[in-house]
């Protein structure tokens, strides 16, 4: 059997190919890997991308979305194999490793070329002088206080200093009723409790766990924090099961009136209300050391953004980053995420409509965002090491000084 292709058909095929090819040439398709889409209302991130595409003809965005842990692994492998997406969602804890692999582009030249106003962004994460990440949305960690429990325990003034916190925690504790002043999650399964629930005490007082870019865990700030946590534990004010408690369990205990106070993400406000609509709670900044009057550091987790060093479309990728960091778009995105903005001029709508968020926004405005784990090498491993030493201390196997010294030794090996 023989096939005869008519010339007309050939012409049609050639024309179709040409159209497709020119279309492909005209449009730059950016790949944007992140874990945000599943955490936002369905379709909302896609809708923002559609608006970006409409505002930037010739640029298309493909969203590559997955859960946080999957995205983390995907980005690590992508960095190693040179297949990282053009634009990537980043956690501050990853950037050091990614930078060591030369996987992230330096955004300094892009900012200079486009005369980008650096003053409008809340923070620029730099590693070795390279601007590798902007926090797009920040989830701050204030102290949640169960007001009914506090009132019943005779706590009339919400704590502002560590001494006041210890006093309030003691008053709120009634072990016979399974009720404790504070809840501390130090599970090794997810050692984030080290940054959110331990180091936050150091940062709140304007102190640091670092000195000259190196760990300074044996310094007074960290040792004092450990001593303070030990005193809370010795007084029996911390809900039992610290060493295996996870963040979810912490929230559950607070929601069910089993813990009077907790340091937690603002992102959980709606969850807490859903789980216990009757819970009467308020938000306060993390208490500080005696006589500290300076600005308070506010621990945060963020949705960061960066550009792949291997991207062939860095110019277009930068346009997308700029778009997401712009005042209006950033306000829209963080309103959807119940987060605080990466653009200092953006004001999310929930801060005016919701009292708790409004209060948190005040805390956010009067303090400054800080998370010293951002940009550190193998940040999760550092947290795990500190976690183990804190657990040993709370189990009575070592003093705060010994815990700090052991953690310092472990950390130094990673720097």
């Amino acid at each position: 059997m023989t096939f005869r292709i008519k010339p007309a058909m050939l012409k049609i095929a050639a024309a179709a190919w040409l159209l497709g090819a020119t279309g492909a040439l005209a449009d730059t398709t950016l790949e944007f890997t992140q874990w945000w889409e599943p955490e936002l209302p369905a379709g909302s991130l896609r809708s923002i991308m559609d608006e970006f595409e409409a505002a930037n003809p010739g640029i298309k965005v493909t969203l590559v979305s997955g859960p946080y842990a999957t995205t983390r692994d995907q980005i690590s492998v992508g960095a190693a194999t040179g297949t990282l997406s053009d634009v990537v969602g980043l956690d501050g804890a990853w950037v050091n490793n990614l930078n060591a692999q030369n996987a992230l582009a330096d955004m300094n030249p892009m900012m200079d070329a486009s005369k980008f106003d650096k003053g409008q962004v809340a923070d620029i994460i730099k590693v070795d002088g390279k601007a590798v990440m902007f926090p797009v949305a920040s989830f701050v960690y204030p102290v949640f206080v169960n007001l009914d429990l506090a009132a019943k325990a005779g706590v009339t003034k919400l704590p502002s200093t560590r001494a006041e916190f210890l006093d309030a925690a003691k008053k709120m504790t009634d072990a016979n009723k399974n009720q404790y002043g504070w809840v501390l999650p130090l599970s090794l399964q997810s050692p984030g409790g080290v940054q959110n629930d331990l180091m936050s005490w150091v940062w709140a007082s304007g102190q640091s766990m670092m000195a000259d870019g190196k760990p300074a865990l044996e310094g007074k700030p960290v040792v004092d924090m450990l001593s303070f946590v030990k005193s809370l534990n010795d007084a029996g004010t911390i809900s039992p099961g610290i060493a295996t408690k996870t963040e979810q369990e912490k929230v559950e205990e607070f929601v069910n009136d089993r813990a009077g106070m907790m340091i937690d993400s603002l992102a959980h406000v709606n969850l807490i209300r859903k789980r216990n609509p009757k819970l009467n709670f308020d938000l306060i900044p993390v208490p500080v050391v005696e006589n500290y009057t300076g600005k308070r550091g506010l621990p945060y987790a963020s949705w960061g953004i960066g550009i792949s060093a291997a991207s062939k479309h860095q110019e277009e990728a930068w346009k997308l980053v700029q778009y997401l960091m712009s005042e209006k778009v950033n306000a829209k995105l963080v309103s959807l995420a119940n987060a605080f903005p990466g653009n200092v001029n953006a004001k999310p709508d929930f801060v005016t409509s919701d009292k708790a968020f409004g209060k948190a926004f005040e805390i956010f405005k009067t303090g400054y965002l800080t998370n010293e784990f951002t940009g550190l090498p193998v940040a999760e491993d550092l947290m795990t090491q500190f976690d183990v030493q804190a657990q040993k201390m709370l189990a009575g196997e070592q003093t705060p000084e010994q815990a700090a010294a052991a953690a310092q030794k472990g950390w130094m090996a990673k720097f």
């Binding site: 599970s187 090794l188 997810s190 295996t244 193998v378």
Partner: protein
């Protein structure tokens, strides 16, 4: 038939079996051998996976894990967890199987017990971990009951205390795993000829003598096979320990699987994690060879 044709025919006959086997050999090669060889190769490289041009590291990563006291603690915890689990899986499985095989128990009750005893087998590891976390938490049901009947005076932090955590996760694993033994042994019990017991009755044998001299010897092939398989599987348990304790408190429940996981996904030291995985592979391989030899001998 010419000589050439005959040799061609011979060659075809010789090659044919391999052609039939080739699809399965290809699948085994791609899904089993390739990943295994890759992990072994990673264990001899510096910055495996994370660098495009990893350098040869020799035995450096093996040396590093053998010098790490946490590795040896993990190995000891793995052996304790595995041995205790297998012993108790076998003992509980045997007791329940004998109970379900006994004519002295009412058939209706026996059917109810059969369903109840097999229940742990129906749950996934994650569900089992969540159940035991809730039961054994300081404010949980177990503490409440033990305090009410006066066995403990204060709340025990079963998973959070370094003294009790390893026993607690082992207990949860024993609960989860005995039905395998129970079902296998029950099938074995039902296959033992009744004549043996009738002859023993005529000889005036007591119940325990029948158990020792008839039941256990008859079940021995099943006991050994299932024990070896259980040993291999239990050595690799990860989700139950990870979800209940995360390898903590401190390193009290760190086993080889959690140790390897942390090296890979917390420290991002994939070379060292590969070396640790190869050690687990070698231990499992030793046990597997033992199992295969036993099966061949039968």
């Amino acid at each position: 038939m010419t000589r050439q044709k005959r040799s061609h025919h011979k060659l075809k006959r010789a090659v044919a079996p391999y052609l039939y086997l080739s699809p399965s050999l290809l699948i085994i090669g791609l899904l089993m051998l390739l990943p295994m060889v890759t992990v072994i190769a990673y264990s001899f490289q510096n910055s495996a996976v994370l660098r495009r041009d990893p350098s040869f590291a020799g035995l450096k990563h093996y040396q590093a894990i053998f010098d790490d006291p946490v590795f040896w603690a993990s190995l000891w915890h793995t052996l304790y967890f595995t041995c205790m689990s297998v012993i108790f899986h076998m003992t509980i499985g045997m007791i329940f199987a004998l109970m379900l095989n006994s004519d002295r128990i009412n058939p209706t009750l026996r059917n109810i017990l059969r369903v109840l005893y097999i229940l742990p087998w129906l749950f996934t590891a994650v569900i089992i971990a969540v159940i035991w976390r809730l039961l054994l938490e300081p404010n949980g049901v177990v503490n409440s009951i033990l305090m009410q009947i006066g066995i403990i005076g204060s709340k025990v932090e079963w998973f959070s205390s370094p003294q009790t955590a390893l026993h607690a996760v082992t207990f949860a694993n024993i609960w989860a795993g005995y039905p395998l033994f129970m079902v296998s042994l029950l099938a074995g019990l039902q296959g033992i000829p009744k004549d043996f017991y009738e002859a023993a009755d005529i000889d005036g044998a007591k119940a325990y003598q029948k158990l020792i001299f008839i039941t256990i010897p008859q079940l021995m092939p099943i006991i050994i096979s299932i024990s070896l398989l259980d040993f291999i599987w239990t050595m690799q348990v990860f989700p139950l320990i990870w979800i209940t304790t995360g390898g903590g408190p401190i390193y009290a429940t760190e086993v080889l699987s959690t140790y390897t996981y942390k090296l890979a996904f917390s420290s991002y030291n994939l070379s060292q994690a590969s070396a640790s995985a190869v050690v687990i592979l070698l231990i499992s391989l030793g046990l597997t060879l033992f199992y295969i030899r036993y099966q061949k001998a039968r």
